[in-house]
């Protein structure tokens, strides 16, 4: 039954200012008075998810309690995070992508307005993995975000009126949009999901005032399409001319995927944007022999014209759906007695990478999760040292015991945080392995292009997830809080040295950033796959907000958490039998205070 493919799809994420301590290199997101705000998805251009607020300390955190909740009225997976600017909280829901603006200065936080776009329901079935949205970006009095059916909109923050609406993606060809945009200078940067539909992946730069598409840069394909120019493209590991096409058998790059569904980071000093690309299509690697550049890679571009400056591929010829769309965190780290302008990335493939963000040269790569597909990463060549027994493909049959699973050592949907005070990174992790049986797949426009059956099982220890603290200068785990279920929320860390995260079964937790000791926990309305954020309210107090609303991959992998459709009843998944015992779908915003 070689032909009997069962899709085990995957995974589909978020983007940053170092305040104090380590570095100003990434630039501040605003004046000092704005530290109590949260204007962009990952707090700052450097994607640190670090807030300088410090009212909530390890001593006070045990008294954290919910002060307000609000149902979004939407059941899809609530990834992403709210924004708070000028005493207003902005919330984007999953499809149908309603934008709410709550007035935090009034009792009960009533709405100032809500914007209800006309979003095609056809996009639901063309989304690989639920109808998620990873958030909005506030700049210059406007809220920018993406609609699932391939539109970017700019909304007047004061009135809620639509200022522009640009079609950027083609749903009929497998493109949907789940990522949060990044706004740099006069560009709005957006990309499309569709690594499971054989898209020809891209990033676009829109004009911030009009929404007009200024440039389109492909992530794969010939140099001209990728906006690669010999005078500006200087990768640390040279791949040759037209590598984005020549590293693919025949012209398989044309349907080769490389979606963008994670966040984009920006270094104002180097004037470079950084983003990760997703998996090559299809999952059966024998249909696309070669390195498949630049899938499963990080790309550094100039925001003004999109020119590619360098690229680094984490997983050449990805055999396992190891998207590299996870967050690229920019931090200056003390390594070997020197301060390095680093980019740190926790990859689905289980390695945590530190690169020189000016050049793309690899500095270190150490496993943060249980890894069997590769033994290590060769620092001289930048390439993984593969385990030949874990390479997949149609001719390889059912390859057993591949770790991590294609959900990733961490999901790109679960962005990490970095504290310049503790010098540690904080991230959710998954402890799942898989068997992987590739199958022949047909590219049929508008339908999935996958070709793999990949059942999951628990990794060593039996716990399916953990929340960890990681020292990127040594490549070592500092502490770990094991979780019964895969850990799928983003991380938040504050100058109070408290870290926040949620669990798939619906606990919202705070922990001591230095030790991991859990300081508070509260069972919110649904499993947490969103990212906590913090702000100072108009009353001067520090609050922490997070979405509840299990979904994303878990709407598929654990379909029994859904109860919304009597004509769609799912059996429990054998690797996660208990999740529906503890939670079910339902989008809610939760705000916690002291």
């Amino acid at each position: 039954m070689l032909l009997f493919s069962r899709a085990a799809l995957l995974a589909c994420l978020g983007a940053g200012t170092l305040l104090g301590g380590l570095s100003q290199a990434a630039g501040r997101s605003g004046p000092a008075a704005a530290d109590g705000e949260w204007t962009m998805p990952a707090k700052d251009f450097a994607s640190t998810r670090f807030s300088a607020l410090s009212d909530i300390t390890p001593q006070k955190a045990p008294s954290l309690h919910p002060v307000w909740t609000f149902s979004t009225g939407v059941l899809g997976g609530h990834e992403g995070q709210p924004l708070v600017v000028g005493g207003v909280m902005y919330v984007v829901t999953p499809w149908p992508n309603v934008l709410y603006a709550f007035d935090l200065s009034k009792e009960g936080y009533p709405l100032k307005w809500k914007y209800r776009p006309d979003v095609s329901p056809n996009a639901i079935g063309v989304s690989c993995c639920d109808t998620v949205n990873r958030g909005a970006f506030y700049a210059d009095g406007k809220v920018f975000y993406n609609l699932l059916d391939g539109h970017t909109v700019a909304i007047d923050a004061a009135s809620g009126k639509e200022l522009w609406n640009t079609l950027i993606a083609d749903v009929a060809n497998g493109e949907t949009v789940s990522m949060a945009p990044l706004v740099v200078k006069d560009r709005v940067l957006v990309g499309a999901s569709g690594g499971e539909f054989g898209i020809y992946g891209w990033l676009k730069g829109l004009d911030v005032k009009t929404g007009k598409v200024v440039w389109t840069a492909r992530n794969i394909g010939p140099d001209a399409d990728m906006l690669i120019r010999p005078d500006t493209f200087k990768p640390a590991y040279d791949a040759g001319v037209d590598a984005g096409a020549k590293s693919w058998a025949d012209d398989t790059w044309r349907t080769g995927g490389a979606p963008v569904w994670g966040g984009v980071s920006y270094d104002p000093e180097l004037d470079l944007i950084y983003y990760g690309t997703g998996n090559p299509s299809p999952y059966n690697p024998e249909q696309r022999v070669g390195d498949n550049k630049w899938t499963a890679s990080v790309l550094a571009r100039k925001p003004a014209d999109g020119a590619l400056v360098w690229a680094y591929q984490f997983t050449p010829h990805d055999n396992w759906d190891y998207d590299a769309t996870g967050s690229m965190v920019l931090a200056d780290l003390a390594i070997g007695g020197k301060s390095i302008k680093a980019l740190v990335h926790f990859d689905k493939n289980g390695f945590a990478y530190t690169l020189d963000r000016a050049t793309g040269k690899l500095i270190s790569a150490e496993a943060f999760a249980h890894v069997t597909w590769a033994k290590s990463v060769d620092l001289a060549t930048g390439r993984p040292v593969l385990d030949p027994d874990k390479q997949t493909g149609l001719s390889k049959g059912n390859v057993k015991g591949v770790c991590p699973s294609l959900e990733g050592g961490v999901s790109p949907s679960s962005p990490p945080a970095f504290s310049p005070r503790t010098h540690l990174f904080y991230t959710s992790t998954n402890n799942l392995c898989m068997d992987y049986a590739a199958a022949r797949s047909t590219h049929l426009k508008g339908t999935p292009f996958i070709g793999a059956n990949s059942p999951y099982m628990a990794g060593p220890g039996g716990n399916l997830g953990a929340f960890i603290a990681w020292d990127a200068t040594t490549g070592k785990k500092v502490w770990e809080n094991k979780e019964e279920f895969p850990s799928w929320s983003g991380a938040l860390v504050t100058a109070g040295d408290v870290v926040f995260y949620g669990t798939l079964d619906g606990w919202f937790k705070s922990a001591d950033a230095k030790t991991g000791k859990v300081l508070s926990k509260f069972k919110v309305g649904s499993g947490v796959v969103g990212n906590p954020m913090t702000y100072r309210g108009p009353d001067g107090r520090q609050y922490v907000a997070v979405y509840a609303g299990i979904g994303g991959d878990w709407a598929l992998l654990a379909g029994d958490v859904r109860s919304d459709d009597p004509a769609d009843t799912r059996p429990q998944a054998d690797f996660i039998k208990n999740i529906a015992r503890h939670t079910s779908q339902g989008g809610m915003i939760w705000i916690f205070g002291l």
Binding site: L2, L3, F4, S5, R6, A7, L9, P121, N122, A123, I124, G125, V126, S127, C128, C129, D130, E196, A439, R440, S441, T442, L444, G446, T447, P448, F449, I450, N453, A555, L556, G559, D560, D565, P566, A567, D568, T569, R570, P571, Q572, K577, N578, A580, R581
Partner: protein, 152 residues
């Protein structure tokens, strides 16, 4: 590999044959379905031609349908055992748009909102009936409708 080529050859035949396996009642008005998922206004259901599955219960066709379910990427949305993925479960004998053979046929042939593509143009009527026959052959999961975690 050979099986793959063979399947594709057979799919091509199916596809080429779609002119004679005409879309539902092209010349005789709209298709009549039992519309078990619908309410009738008044007491009179709409007229039309009843569609019947020419392969009803044929296990050989059901097996071919299983291969087609993967080859046409149905599994990419509905799961390899049709137990639900980004698209709904098709193995629980519950149906958003009605579970009569003709209703399931129409869902595949013409597509449905929320992203179900119209496969009629690619598969032809006989190809769609082959898929219907496969779906009809699936066992119902034991956890429908009750899922229990009783510790005792």
């Amino acid at each position: 590999m050979n099986r793959w080529i063979a399947l594709f050859a057979s799919l091509a035949v199916v596809s080429c044959g779609r002119q004679d396996a005409a879309p539902p009642a092209a010349n005789s008005g709209p298709p009549a379905v039992r519309y078990e998922a619908h309410i009738v206004a008044g007491t009179t259901a709409p007229n039309g031609v009843e569609l019947t599955n020419p392969h009803n219960g044929d296990q050989a066709v059901a097996q071919k349908g299983a291969l087609m379910f993967a080859a046409m990427n149905c599994d990419g949305c509905h799961g390899g055992d049709a137990s639900g993925w980004v698209g709904p479960s098709l193995s629980d004998q519950r149906w958003r748009y009605g579970g009569a053979d003709s209703e399931v046929f129409n869902s595949i042939y013409y597509g449905r909102p929320k992203g179900m593509p119209a496969f009629g143009g690619t598969l032809g009527a006989d190809g769609v009936w082959t898929l219907v026959t496969y779906l009809r052959s699936l066992p119902v999961p034991t956890t429908v409708p009750t899922e229990s975690w009783d510790d005792h």
